[in-house]
């Protein structure tokens, strides 16, 4: 049988089995599904809102019943009043923005610095042996411990603040990438190599995307660390622009308890808001694309 005849017979035979194959595809396939907005709101937004409501109610109750000294625990309304006051003085947004800007720009700088460090630590054995443990150890060092040294070395202004953010955040970013790379299935690397993805092409097309979930976890932690470090730095170092940490400190000095509570709440809310606005959507998108998470979870 000549090769063209063979090809024709095989084509016919295979088209019979193609129908079987197409049937199997329908039976085995997984359909992507979305969720109606109403259900997302009910299942995801409602429970945390209820908890917030309960905490506020409890707080109000404690205040009304006079269970503690009103100087030490002012009621929710008094804290709200402080917020209103700040808003009317038109200082609320500048204060929040100063801190958010420092936090985000410091964090981005930490990503730029931490990523190559993580890449080198993960892929170059001697470097890993030398600085891997140090990098891990740095993560457990509270960044507030750096503040005095940073202030003495760099002066009590923005430079010291950014240095503290970086010291807190860079190790998280780098360690996240190292962990992400360690978890890359070796099969992906082999598959990449057989396709010719070696050297930098391998890093770009296989290693980085495969390590992305771990890297992203590191970024999330990196943001949390940079926000925390910033608050620690702002509490102690003083710079011309008033940030949330400095505001909190000034309220303490003024024995303004509603202001102190407001400061704490604002710091908490901004931290959560950034996480929800930037980190969570990226992570959800990434995991859903890879089928790690259901579309509506």
């Amino acid at each position: 049988m000549s090769s063209t005849d063979t090809a024709a017979v095989l084509e016919k035979d295979a088209s019979d089995s193609a129908e079987v194959g197409a049937g199997l595809d329908v039976l085995d396939g997984v359909a992507a599904r979305g969720a109606p907005i109403a259900r997302i709101v009910r299942e995801r937004a409602l429970p945390p809102l209820i908890v917030v409501g309960l905490v506020l109610g409890l707080w109000q109750l404690v205040f009304v019943l006079g269970l503690t000294d009103a100087d030490k625990l002012p009621g929710p309304a008094m804290v709200w009043h402080s917020l209103d006051e700040l808003w009317c003085q038109e200082t609320l947004l500048p204060i929040v923005w100063t801190s958010v800007w420092r936090g985000l720009s410091g964090f981005l700088l930490a990503v730029v610095i931490g990523t190559p460090i993580g890449l080198v630590v993960a892929r170059v054995k001697p470097v890993r042996t030398a600085i891997g443990p140090v990098l891990q150890g740095l993560q457990s060092l509270p960044s507030v411990a750096w503040v005095p040294a940073a202030v003495i070395w760099l002066g009590p202004d923005n430079v010291a603040i950014y240095a503290v953010i970086l010291l807190g955040s860079v190790p998280s970013v780098a360690n996240g990438l190292v962990a992400g790379i360690d978890q890359v299935p070796p099969l992906f690397l082999r598959a990449g190599r057989t396709m010719g993805a070696t050297g930098l092409a391998g890093v770009r097309h296989v290693l980085i995307p495969a390590a992305l979930p771990g890297y992203l976890a590191g970024l999330k932690q990196g943001w949390a660390f940079s926000w925390r470090s910033l608050m620690a730095a702002e509490l102690i170092a003083s710079s011309p622009e008033l940030g949330l940490g400095r505001y909190l400190q000034s309220r303490r000095e003024a024995a303004d308890m509603p202001g102190v509570l407001l400061g704490i709440l604002l710091i908490l809310i901004v931290g959560i808001a950034i996480e929800l606005a930037f980190m969570a959507p990226i992570e959800r998108h990434l995991l859903r694309d890879r089928g790690v998470q259901d579309a509506d979870r």
Binding site: S3, L10, G21, V30, R190, M195, A197, P209, R290
Partner: protein
């Protein structure tokens, strides 16, 4: 009954005449440091002719996957040489090894990109390859949305996207159910003939080896050596349950079991 047309060959492993698609010459492979060295492959000599479909058959420990890795260039032989004159061969694994961060189509396009296909041509070529494996609508599908059989078909398309005429397959259908495997046997046979590929297919499934191959090479285990080979002249398309395939499978299984029995310690 179809006569079983087999020609027991002298174990030379060489194909007469012409430049082979794959030439494996006196290859040895050992792992571990001296003292605790494991000799995995022992003097393997084997050619795959252009357009030939060869299955490598053996029990576990025969080093068939190791041999495939050597041919793929993922590892180097301890001694001997491997030549693939057509350039880097494509390799398919038991697991699909598709990248979950890319769609089916983009997985194929990445292989095209790495093979140097210019960007404007990639999309159309990826669609063509998906059509070839009968997944015309799957371009935008994520890997997790595909069934096991569909994944292996995309993996096949991605392997073909590398543009090599030599396709290495490492038990690519072992993790699939029997019905899906049957369908994919038909598909790979069709694509092999259509594209005139040279295939080196590793399996421990005797019937699968006979169903697909023009030549079945039996490796002995620990260390792996070419024990025997059969040329299979049954016409394609074959059915895995046909008597021709069954009869030859019985003969080869006997031989395989004999090889395995040699390892019983008396």
């Amino acid at each position: 009954m179809t006569p079983v047309l087999t020609t027991p060959q002298a174990v030379t492993g060489r194909v007469a005449g012409g430049v082979p698609a794959v030439r494996i010459s006196h290859v040895h492979k050992s792992f571990g440091r001296s003292g605790a060295r494991t000799h995995v492959l022992d003097d393997i000599t084997l050619d795959v002719a252009p357009g030939e479909f060869v299955t490598l058959l053996g029990a576990s420990g025969c080093g068939k996957s190791t041999l495939l890795n050597l041919v793929a260039g993922l590892d180097k032989p301890s001694r001997g040489s491997i030549e693939v004159p057509g350039g880097r061969p494509a390799l398919m694994f038991q697991e699909h090894a598709l990248f979950p961060w890319l769609t089916a189509g983009k997985n194929i396009e990445l292989a095209l990109k790495l093979a140097g296909v210019p960007r404007p041509e990639r999309r159309a070529e990826a669609e063509r390859l998906l059509e070839l494996v009968r997944l015309a609508g799957a371009y935008g599908k994520r890997v997790h949305e595909l069934s096991g059989g569909m994944r292996q078909r995309v993996a096949m398309a991605r392997a073909l996207a590398q543009g090599s005429k030599v396709l290495l397959m490492d038990e690519p259908f072992a993790a699939l159910d029997a019905i899906t495997r049957d369908v994919l046997h038909d598909e790979i046979t069709r694509i092999w003939a259509e594209r005139q590929l040279s295939v080196l297919f590793v399996t421990h499934n005797v019937r699968e080896a006979v169903r697909l191959a023009q030549r079945v090479v039996l490796l002995s285990s620990r260390p792996g050596r070419v024990a025997r080979e059969w040329r299979i002249d049954l016409p394609q398309p074959r059915r895995i349950e046909s008597s021709g395939v069954a009869d030859l499978s019985i003969e080869i299984t006997e031989e395989l079991r004999g090889e395995i029995r040699r390892h019983v310690q008396h």
